[in-house]
Each structure stands twice: as C-alpha cells, then as structure tokens.
Symmetry: C2
Subunit: 407 residues, 2 copies
Amino acid sequence: MEIKKVSGGVCAAKGFKAWGTFGGLGKPGKGKDDMAVVLSDCVGTAAAVYTSNKVKAAHISVCKEHLADGKAQAMLCNSINANTCTPDGVEVAKYNCSLLAREAGIAAEDIIVTSTGVIGKPMPREPFEKGIPELVKNASYDGGDKAAKAIMTTDTLDKQAAVVFSAGGKECTIGGMAKGSGMIHINMGTMLCFLTTDCAISSEMLEKALRAEVVDSFNQVSIDGDTSTNDTLSIIANGMAGNETIVSEGEDFENFKAALHEISVIFARKIAGDGEGCTKLIQAHVSGAPDKETARLISKSIICSSLFKAAIFGCDANWGRVLCAIGYTPADFDASNIDVSLSSAKGSIDVCSGSASLPMDEDKALEILKEEEVNVEVDIHDGDADAYAWGCDLTYEYVKINGEYRS
Amino acid sequence: MEIKKVSGGVCAAKGFKAWGTFGGLGKPGKGKDDMAVVLSDCVGTAAAVYTSNKVKAAHISVCKEHLADGKAQAMLCNSINANTCTPDGVEVAKYNCSLLAREAGIAAEDIIVTSTGVIGKPMPREPFEKGIPELVKNASYDGGDKAAKAIMTTDTLDKQAAVVFSAGGKECTIGGMAKGSGMIHINMGTMLCFLTTDCAISSEMLEKALRAEVVDSFNQVSIDGDTSTNDTLSIIANGMAGNETIVSEGEDFENFKAALHEISVIFARKIAGDGEGCTKLIQAHVSGAPDKETARLISKSIICSSLFKAAIFGCDANWGRVLCAIGYTPADFDASNIDVSLSSAKGSIDVCSGSASLPMDEDKALEILKEEEVNVEVDIHDGDADAYAWGCDLTYEYVKINGEYRS
C-alpha cells in the first residue's frame, strides 16, 4: 500500500475549515495570533489521548466529557495561557465551547477544546468573546496555515503535514497541525496535535488506532524530559472521502494505521527538530534488542541524555555518553556487546564495537556531526527488536528561553 | 547524641594518610594532579556501593573482588580517564593495584581502586608506574587536600568533610572526600566518594549502614539525570578510635549511622552545589506524602526538571514547572491539593495553594531566588512522609562544558 506525502495541514482532508486570530491573551502588537479553530462540515467520529501527568490542564476533563460519545465537529485551541492550576479553568473552557457552539451553529459537546502556554495564570474570558466570532466568520478551506501559526508558543516553525492513502478503493487524506517545543517528554498523549481525516471510520476503531500509534511515534519524542500537563493528540474523521466505514480489523484498517503512523512520525520529527533552542534533530535507532519495549526504552534513554545532547550541540563524537545512557536504561538486556555508529547526510562512522572503543577519524566525525540531522545507530546484539526515538541537542538558547520564559 | 562538624577530610580520622600527584594521564603543565591515594595504618573493615548503570567501569569488578572479605587498607583513584569501555580495563586496574601493593607493602586485595574521566579511551600504564611510587613516598597525615584536588574533573571545588561522634564512650571520626560535577544522577552508589573512619565496626554492620544511607542522601542528588558508569562510594574503618567494635544493632550503631548520614548529606549538598556550570544549589523538601518512597520520588522529580532548573537560573519563580514535575512523578498520590513555597536566606514566599495560583510579589520572589541556595518546600497534603533532594540550576556554562568536554 502506498502512502503519499502531500502539501497542506489540518485542511488537507475534505470538508475541514480552519482559522487563527488574535483574541487578546497575549500582548497586542506582537503579530502573534493566540487562538485557532478547526471546523468540519459535518459531525465526525473522534478520539483523543492525553498527558499522563497527574497535574492536568482544565481542558482535559472537558474533552473527555465531550468525546464520551466518540463524536466531534470542531477543535478550539489557544496559546499563551495553559489553563492549568487555575481556579475556574473548567468553567472557562466550557464557556468558550458555548461561545463557539453559538457562533458556528454546532453542539458544544462536539468541540475538542485545548490550551497551551503558561501554567497557573487565571484564564480571562474576554479574549475568547472577541476572538471566537472572528474565527468562525473567517474559517476557510485554506485557513490551515493561519491556524497552525496561532497555536505556536516557543515553536520557531509551524508544524503541518498531510498524507494520502486509500481505503475501500477511495482516496483518503489525513492532515494535521501540531505545536510543541518545550516541556516535551511525551507520555501517552502528546503536546498539542490536531489531526483531521475524511476517511470514514468508527469511533471505536479510530480510538484503537490512535492509542496504538502514539507508542512508537509521539511517545518516543523527548526535548527536555518534562511531560507537560497539557499534552493532547486529537483526531476528527468526517467520512467525506466516501469509503465504506471502517468498523473492524482488516486491510482498510491496516492502511489507515499505516497512514496514521506516517503522519505521526512526520510530526514527531518536526517537534523534536524544533525543540526549544535546538540546532539539530537527533534520531536514535536501536536494533538487536531482546524485545520492542526494551528497544523503545534504550532509544529514548539516548535522546534524553543531557550530556549526549550537549555533546551533539558541540559536534563532539562523545559516544561514551551513548553507552552511559544505554547502560542506565531501566530494562533487562546484555550490555557487553554493543555497536554504535553515527551518521548524517555527510556519511557514517563506526565509533564503538563490542562495547569498546574503535580508532576514530575525528575530522570525519566532526563533518558528520555538523549536519542538522544526526543519527545514532545502535546494535545491542541481544535479540531482534528495534525502535526509533527523536530528540534534539541541548543549547545555550534552551537555557535562555527557559530562564526567561515567564517574563 | 551530638554530631559535630570538624575541619579536614579523608585524613581527619586517626591513622589515615593521603596524597595526590601528577602521573601523566592528563596533559602536563596544567597544574592538575591526576591520581590520589589514601592509606590506612592498618587493615580495616570496608564496604562500597556502586553505580546501577549496566555499562560499568572496569574498577567495579576489581573492587567487588577485593572487598569480598570485607577488608581494605588503601584507596587508589585516578581522574582524566574513566577506564570504562576499554579493552583491557580490568587488567590495568589490577596492575595498578599490584604496583601500589609493592610500593606500600600491603596486599593488592586490600586496595579499593577507582577511576573517573572520559569513557572509552584505552588506559595507559606508564602514568601509574611513574605516579604510584610518588604517592606512597609522600603520603602523609595532612595530605587530604592534595588527594581531594587530584580526583577532581570538572569540579570547581574540592569536596571534603569530617564529623565527630561517639561510640562506646570513645570519640570517633568519619572523614571523606568526593568528586562529581557532571553525569550525576546517583542511583545505588554515587560518583566517587571516599570515606574513612577510625570507628571499630564489623564489615557486615559497615555495609548495612552504607547501603541504608545512600537512599536518602547520595541517591537523592541529580545534576543532569545521567547515572554515571563509574559511581562508587567506599569506606574504610580502621578501628583506631579504640571503641568496642560495633557488631550489632544498638545505640552505637545508631550513632554511627547518624554520623554517616550527617557527612553523606554534606557531600550530597556539596556535589549538587558544584554541579557542572551551576550557579545555585536547589534543595527540594516534600512533606505530606503518603509514604517515604513517594516523597523521595517527588522531591527528585522536582530537582531533575530541566525547565525548573533553567527557570531558577533565570531567577524566575515559575512554580507551574514545579507542579508539572510533581505531576509526572511515577508514583501514586493525590495531586489536587498541593502547596508550594520558595525560600532562601532572603525569606520565604508562598506561590501555590491547593494546586492553584496565589497572588505573588514578583520583586520579593526575585530577591529570594537571587541567593546561592534556593529551597522549594512542597506539601502534598496526602500523608505524613517527607524527603529531601538536591540539585542545581541549568546554565549556559553546563552546555558549554559538555559541548566541549572531550576536546
């Protein structure tokens, strides 16, 4: 089955409009919109997964309530304020849904509402009273860019992607947008990612696919080890591709899952590559692990190591830190026969064999590590399982951004 | 029982000599010694705990072999080279013990041998052939400073401490030295810490005390989340204080444990406060937890958060990141009623009550956070257990040190 990357984002699938605007949550005059909407032409099936953090954004309980019936028609998202640890967060989130419902002529219970930004600041209502009518009035089939930019916080790039696949002989599309740059160590859900598809699929199968997918894409991303209070990955499937509704396992479901995996990995890499202050995307691929979960844990341990992340920032092929990070992975495997190589668009170099040093051409290593995407390839030689994880380097800029974030 | 801090380090207890010298592992002319020895006048009981990292320094298997009988007379340590992931690391470690045994007239099996430095570089023998005779020739009862400086890597300060307590009516001393500044997220053992005591105690009780102690002192320190391959905490007890040997539980053993705790917390704080590139020591105290282990996990989660560490570097009272770090702690507790306050020598300020924001005097917060020691006080209101953890801020300098470490 072929999956094709196409241009576009949250409006790439049939029947989805979007927009972004400035409601007034942030400081005016900064040219940065602070809220976005995605509207489907009809009610669709829907699913979401959320952060595992015990301290949760107010929007999460509202989303769970709204998605209890497996249906949704719209997504509403604001940046600047996380609506977390606020006294009346749930009330404000519900109020905002009622505003959008009234303006768009849809049911408040069919809205997926989310927030991202600073934790612990009371959430004002006025910006939404001003912004939501604007969002609805301007929402259009080519408003995806505007929406994707409005949900950014410390992101330097908006994150959009779309893939096309086929189900039941019909061409289907999954598109989406995401934000996320700091407080990212995804567990169970993700920062904020909004997917839309015109594929017809039951809410049960949609949720099943989404829950299975996060394990090997979003959950394998870490920027700073901090699992956010707001992580939410959501999807609406409006069925407008006209395929026979996917209601069980089978070829169509496999195709849908493959397309969902493709777009999820694209977003996982986009998020890692735009980590706060980062200059490089780091991909770790671990093979030869005794089982899949061990491979996941080891690859994630590597891309989480502050020391290795700082070394990569300095283009220093300090592979000892890779071995160190492998060694403290909380899993059961043999660490005595590990091979490590480093690669990028400029070639590949073996740095460690049988858990011991190899003579290294430092000039070649430097040339490889100067690239914007660096791969760490690890073979544990203790089984057949493999996994990927994505992270970024640790830089002066990360410290700067996070030493000054609230001010 | 009174425990008194006194001056001195590894030579503070009776009958311990020490020295440091330049053997040639590092570059000459940098004024930095690279190896140290501690020699007891007689064979003592001894114990050690080691890193939980699966990738282990060569010295660890040698130490375990040498300490199988619970006895030791000397400690040998080098900096610059970790002797980890090297082809003949165990052979070199044993060779070095044989050199020291010959020079000092002691048994090779009574030597605790350790290394710290870069991983994956073959360990040369010549520097030890040159350095060890110097160490033995010059070892003296006031050589503790020299030894403590020789074992430093990126440490900016040497770390020494000593406490006096009483056992069986005799005054006993525990002294020690430690090194550790990066790759520090201690688990089961510690970076390198060498303790010496003149207290008479059986090797069984010594090991029991040491294993119990690390849980609430060294294991609660994290600088960068990276558990080293070389962490080793060792102690020799030569019995020269003349107390009746401690062979069982009882008042003397409690006194010994209390003194061991006192000196361990001193070293834990010294290590955290000298984290690579750091400007501040962060102490987290969590109370009201349902059990001790949960309190440990929550306090450690706070001091491990990259985001909170960067905020403290920027003197930003971003307590939302404390709530976030508490929330992703892998433990079972109620996160709905958490109080947080920040304090230092300049006073205290409540920032969060009942897991929601409080109005905050930003000027006062800034004044408090500008100090070199910052305390985060957290009450979970879900039980009676409490615990401490120690870490440091995340700075430009950390990134600089670790982007350039190997070069």
